[in-house]
């Protein structure tokens, strides 16, 4: 819409509703991308819209996009935002939700935009090498939990550590999530297999190698989308919940494809 046309039609109000919508949408997109429940996204958007002087906000939040209308008097403004690259970033969910609950008294769209810029620039809580190490140890611990021993711990830790490293690299190239998952699952499984073989060569064979293989790919199991899907579904946010389940299933099948690929390379001796 050109500026002059907008001005001649509705001097102030439309423009302002549009400004409010920009902030509200950004709040929604940031939260959805950080992997929270759709209703929480809607709630935060609503708080911000009302805090900025709108009378009502209707937000329709799905897993891949947000549609929202903001109302005041007889005026309304609608916008659609597509959301891609959903991940899990609990620090960001917390920061945006906290902002929506504690809006500054003199909140204005431009001021909130600046605050959201700041939230977006917050660096990761833990340095990358530490996260990689944590993922490796966590997957190793999971192998022990399932009933594995030292061999499985080392196999799962090495597989998961390297797998997650490759995954971070491939994500930085913005490679599609399906090939990323397949490749990283195959790498993790193969490395775990090599570790198991290595231990067998030095006289430490194991009969629980399966516990290692399954744990080495655990870092790619879409647990978060499954939990949020359950919470969406019981609130009857059906579209969002079903999309999340579909997303999780696609990733689980990709994982399986990766493990089978690795299996084919070693004559299915891991199966």
């Amino acid at each position: 819409m050109s500026k002059s046309f907008q001005d001649s039609l509705q001097p102030q109000a439309v423009c302002e509703l549009a400004d409010i919508m920009q902030v509200v949408m950004r709040v929604g997109v940031l939260m959805l991308q950080a992997g929270t429940v759709s209703f929480r996204v809607e709630q935060a958007m609503q708080r911000v819209a009302l805090g900025l002087g709108a009378e009502r906000l209707d937000a329709y939040v799905t897993f891949t996009g947000i549609t929202a209308s903001v109302h005041r008097g007889n005026q309304h403004y609608t916008q659609i935002a597509r959301v891609s690259s959903v991940g899990v970033d609990m620090n960001r969910v917390g920061a945006v939700e906290f902002l929506s609950l504690h809006l500054p008294a003199d909140a204005s769209p431009s001021k909130l935009m600046a605050l959201l810029d700041k939230i977006e620039q917050i660096p990761a809580v833990y340095p990358l090498p530490l996260v990689l190490l944590a993922v490796a140890i966590a997957c190793g611990a999971f192998a022990l939990l399932q009933g594995g021993g030292l061999v499985e711990f080392v196999g799962a830790a090495v597989g998961a550590g390297v797998g997650q490293t490759v995954r971070v690299y491939l994500r930085s190239l913005k490679l599609n999530l399906v090939p990323t998952t397949v490749v990283c699952a195959a790498i993790a499984t193969l490395l775990c297999y090599l570790v198991v073989q290595g231990f067998a060569m030095v006289g430490q064979p194991t009969t629980y190698a399966q516990y290692g293989y399954v744990s080495s790919v655990l870092f790619q199991v879409p647990g978060a989308p499954l939990v949020t899907a359950a919470l969406d579904l019981i609130r009857f946010d059906l579209l969002s919940g079903i999309s999340r389940i579909t997303y999780a299933l696609i990733l689980i099948f990709s994982l399986a494809a990766g493990i089978i690929t690795a299996g084919a390379l070693v004559n299915f001796s891991i199966m």
Partner: protein, 150 residues
């Protein structure tokens, strides 16, 4: 592995704590919530083990484990003003049915359709029990889930 029950419980507690904390770090959970996530993850897992020990079936035990994770997670969420979902996502981690899920793949790849289906059903029941446990906890602790809107 055969271990005396108490040592085995401590062993399981430490491992589930470590696994939960590791994944919480992957999910970029704030530092002040990290150890709480670990405790909740270990608590849910131990409760499940205990219930299995006294004879409850897998799905029932998993349901109560997930219910514990969801209910207990609501407390630090309020106190620390953090999203509840954070504790739920990290806390259910030790209960993920990894082995049954892997067996689906193994059996199907060996042409054992029945075995594959059996493992698939087992996996689904475990995942379902986690989902229902977390869902029940949310309905009990959050009025936005308890009441229908409008």
């Amino acid at each position: 592995m055969l271990m005396p029950p108490l040592i085995s419980f401590v062993y399981q507690a430490i491992l589930s704590f470590v696994a939960t904390v590791g994944f919480a770090m992957l999910y970029n959970v704030p530092k002040r919530a990290l150890w709480i996530c670990g405790l909740i993850g270990a608590g849910g897992h131990l409760l499940r083990l205990l219930l299995q020990e006294i004879g409850l079936n897998d799905s029932g035990a998993t349901f109560f484990g997930a219910l514990f994770v969801g209910l207990v997670g609501a407390l630090p969420a309020r106190r620390l003003q953090l999203p509840m979902i954070l504790f739920a996502i990290a806390g259910i981690l030790p209960m993920i049915p990894g082995i049954p899920a892997y067996k689906v793949l193994v059996y199907f790849s060996q042409g054992d359709t029945l075995g594959g289906l059996e493992s698939a059903v087992k996996t689904l029941f475990s995942v379902g029990a986690i989902a229902i446990g977390i869902g029940t906890a949310r309905i009990l602790t959050d009025r936005e889930w308890w009441l229908e809107r409008n």
